[in-house]
Symmetry: D2
Subunit: 342 residues, 4 copies
């Protein structure tokens, strides 16, 4: 099912996502020129049919104008790469930022590139390590013309309409059922992707908490200290279940209201290791959840679930420790309560 | 693909879920006898091939022992129905409660039925109005023997292995990949279903908040009053997007990390009515979310996301009003702040 | 300012609070008979003028009927003590439970004692280790007559009207301005005390979080790793303050809206040890916060602040760990994210 | 107790707080020159002994250099006033911003004024309408020299050491026990005041929720609909209390752990109107709570309590409505649940 609209694309940044984007595009008949600061992945993709480039300048030279260059880079190096790249580009070329940039930077960058006659498209890309096989969900921001021009690229990267049954109540056309969407002007793509990740935090938190409550359904079996510092469990007989959470995650994959890719992934992780060995429970956050909460506050939209999920991640890394010590100190002050050992 | 293990089942309660369970069972070759306090649905299902019963006694009489009788009733009438039913049943018959009973009631009921030589199986049933077509996810509690005996029934009701791709890391056997799971002794099924609904609350909250943040991405376009009672939006230029949330929900259905049945349903609801006309935003809760939080607290498991989602539902129904008035009253007391009009 | 209505009281349980209640009562001219399972505090208080008892029976024998016996015991031993005590008592005697019993137990106990012609009064007692000096805030439940009968006792234990300026808008009489209140029938006292402690959790959480935010106002000074797992601080120059939180707590004690006894205690704890050495941040909870959230849920009253404070305590003790591991596992599954070391 | 270090101060902005600051300063022997865009309060204060000014220029002219000018203005007009004012000032004059400016603006303004040889001091001022009588808690940021120079002013505005008993564990000197504190360089004062207000939100939320739970302790008395949309109250007999929340607030004022100025204010508000008539429960937020949460997120400090309190205010104003409608829409989609009427 190769595309009937083959295009040329330059890809800068060949980490897991960048490399797989290139593979997915080449599979569909597009021609890619690739560059990375590490030569390894360049050679690897060249062996698979891509054009390898040895520098930004080389990459640009190997593309016919008007060019399309996709950046798939850590947020921290986008600006410096962009600064170097724009000097090599010509009027009407397009740069796509497919990483997780903050949407406000998109607004600035689009303005700066616009002043040179260049176009800037921000493209939130979801799909993780599975995207090569499943396709990537694309949330796109920028001017109409360059976004339209890149349509064959987006169509090949996205999962396509066949990847999910049609929405019954839907009567409109558009690209959304194919898995990509032009959300609005510059920054709109990364804005939607940012909130997407905020939603992801909340969904992940809900699933993790639920499975944890199920895992602890045997709380009534445990010895409980009886002292003034410990809340006794009033109904231990109601918590005498040893439930296999790996099987619960698996059964929720079919027919249930919580069915979701994240539950699929939980089932997989728990199938591999029911005790989740190898994880200490220090949950990173890479910015989008924070920015989502910030946006919610700026808009005065209550977002208690997403915010709770963000705070849960901070707690998981021990960042509430001073606060907790202060709570213990207050308890000691007013009640003479000594802290219990762990 | 009719079952090669046809069984007989009595169904009491022919609301949307009970009737569709019967249809799904009959499709698969099982024989059903049905009863409801309303004659209408009894006749309807009789016309589709079920045996109609005019009373609990009649239903029992039409089933060969050892019998299996499934209750699909509102939580409030389960006990009284059960009280009447048990007098008609014989030793070794099984009663399945497929509704949303509180799991602690299961423990009591199983003990009571056990004293009469009857079996009681609790079966949390997820799938809503779509279950006829998609199958229902079943979370089952009770003794091993009767649960095993009912396996052909559960297998026909559940979605089956083909309804989702296999979990890559999974090496075990079991029924979970078919969409039903014997979770443990009496109450374990409803316990898992209860937490399932708690997870559902959290996931729903995350999705709803996220789409709401996206819908309000035009906050910078609105007129803002400048007074001491109103927090000014410092960066209005960063909130000038008019994003089509219906299209966002649609695009998230394919390839994204938040892909889920709930996002599918959002896309459908927004496709039918982008402004969600017909909904005032008073969100009911039917008990399982409350019980989930209660269980989390009893177990000392932090569940901030699920709890936030529950509180959000209470707020949606205006139940925080006295608390809010008190906040306004305090502000008036210390700062002379008058309340702003809506 | 000795009472002009001296009474006799038996005190069972001479921990910090029980012993100080006795001292405060004796100071005001009441006569106390005291008992504890440990002889030490009995002798100590006898040396200060109390009548010492060697057993429950001895204590009862040393009081003239109708007797008043106050229990100041850990929740876990109230029932067994009560079971032994009631056999010694006579019709019309009153038992007061001044500890932190669950209010529903009060309802049961009052009914049981009532069947023997005895009275039961529940009395939530706040004041901690400072109560001897400051007086205790009393929240009382039970029948009118015995509560009225005990008025001289309550009046002596409570702080008295002079301990705070009068409420300007108040025109009613009553005991509340003296620091004790008959809240309603059996259980009402402990219900109000339970919620009081829930409020305490929320206030403590707010203060601890705030001082922690201030302590971390130097976040921009710290080295920040730049990688895909870490949210970069966009505005490090806005977080370059080294603020002395001990001084902040002290300044908030005077004239500010957050002025409170809890801020006083923070100031004291931080004055003694600015780094809160001796505390690891494992914050206990002794039941009332849990019960408060349970009551809020039963009543459908949103209580997000109090619930957040409760969950914060669970997190502080590492009880969210399985949930956190699951979050890391999901991140690994979809994004290949490895967990960062602590 | 007039100051022995009388100074001259210009006050711009004679709203409730500005006017009372002037009165408190004059009472203590300082000389004030006052200006407001409205002539009324200027005449009023002139009648009380202040020097009245008819313009910024006039105000500056009436002060002897090096001058001290205090701005007590809504955040929205500080910048424009400052822009006009600085042209009138001379090298080494000090401007104090006593309002609720965002601390990052202070950093900018201090730099701008510094370039002209002027000093800028930010001073978070807490005390509300009660400050004239109680004194104001002052949180100060800026360079050492001008802050030291203004010490007599701060000392007169603050409540003074006598307004609260000394902190027992305290051994240090400093101004904090007098109710004012130099917190750090420019912005540090407003930073601490910002977090102070965040703490205030959390404490207010805790108190309001608690009193609301107590008010609803009669939930078991109410008629409850029994249907699939409504969670039944399992233990109505445990919620049959009619508790007088006004009296509860009053009793908590003395001896309890939650004793605080905010509880004092609740008691007053409820004494005036037990049903809080005149309040609809639409709770404003004026920015500091939002900024506090933003700072917590930037610093990666979990602040679940303060954040919950902020979200609660958004909910109180109906701002979660689209989100709530979406929740109802999802429930309708998967379960056929119709929304219940209010």
């Amino acid at each position: 099912m190769a595309t009937d609209r083959p295009m040329q694309l330059g890809m800068i940044g060949l980490g897991r996502m960048g490399a797989n984007l290139v593979r997915r595009l080449m599979r569909d008949g597009h021609r890619c020129v690739v560059y990375d600061v590490n030569a390894g992945p360049v050679h690897e993709l060249a062996a698979e049919g891509a054009g390898g480039a040895t520098s930004l300048r080389d990459l640009v030279a190997k593309l016919a104008p008007p060019r399309a260059v996709w950046l798939m880079l850590p947020a921290g190096v986008v600006q410096s790469t962009l600064d170097n790249l724009v000097d090599e580009l010509d009027r009407d070329d397009v740069v796509i930022d497919g990483g997780n940039s903050f949407y406000r930077d998109d607004i600035t960058r689009a303005r700066q590139l616009g002043q040179r006659g260049l176009h800037y498209v921000d493209c939130g890309t979801s799909g993780g390590v599975w995207g090569l096989e499943r396709g990537y969900c694309l949330m796109i921001g920028g001017e109409d013309e360059p976004v339209r021009r890149l349509d064959p690229i987006f169509a090949s990267i996205a999962p396509g309409a066949g990847s999910a049954p049609p929405t019954p109540g839907r009567t409109r056309d558009g690209t959304a059922p194919h898995g990509y969407l032009h959300c609005g002007p510059s920054g709109a793509g990364h804005f939607v992707k940012m909130v997407h990740n905020g939603v992801e935090y909340g969904m992940m938190g809900a699933i993790a908490e639920g499975l944890s409550i199920i895992k602890n359904a045997n709380a009534g079996e445990k010895e409980h200290t009886v002292d003034a510092e410990t809340a006794p469990l009033r109904d231990p007989e109601a918590y005498r279940y040893d439930i296999d959470v790996a099987e619960v995650a698996e059964v929720w994959r079919r027919g249930s209201v919580v069915g979701s890719w994240l539950v699929d992934l939980c089932a997989d992780a728990l199938a591999r290791s029911p005790e989740l060995s190898g994880f200490a429970g220090r949950v990173s956050d890479s910015g989008e959840g924070r920015w989502t909460v910030h946006a919610a506050i700026d808009e005065s939209v209550p977002a208690p679930v997403i915010t709770a999920a963000l705070n849960e991640r901070f707690e998981s890394r021990g960042l509430g420790n001073f606060s907790d010590e202060l709570l213990s100190a207050m308890r000691s002050e007013f009640g003479g309560h000594a802290e219990k050992k762990g």
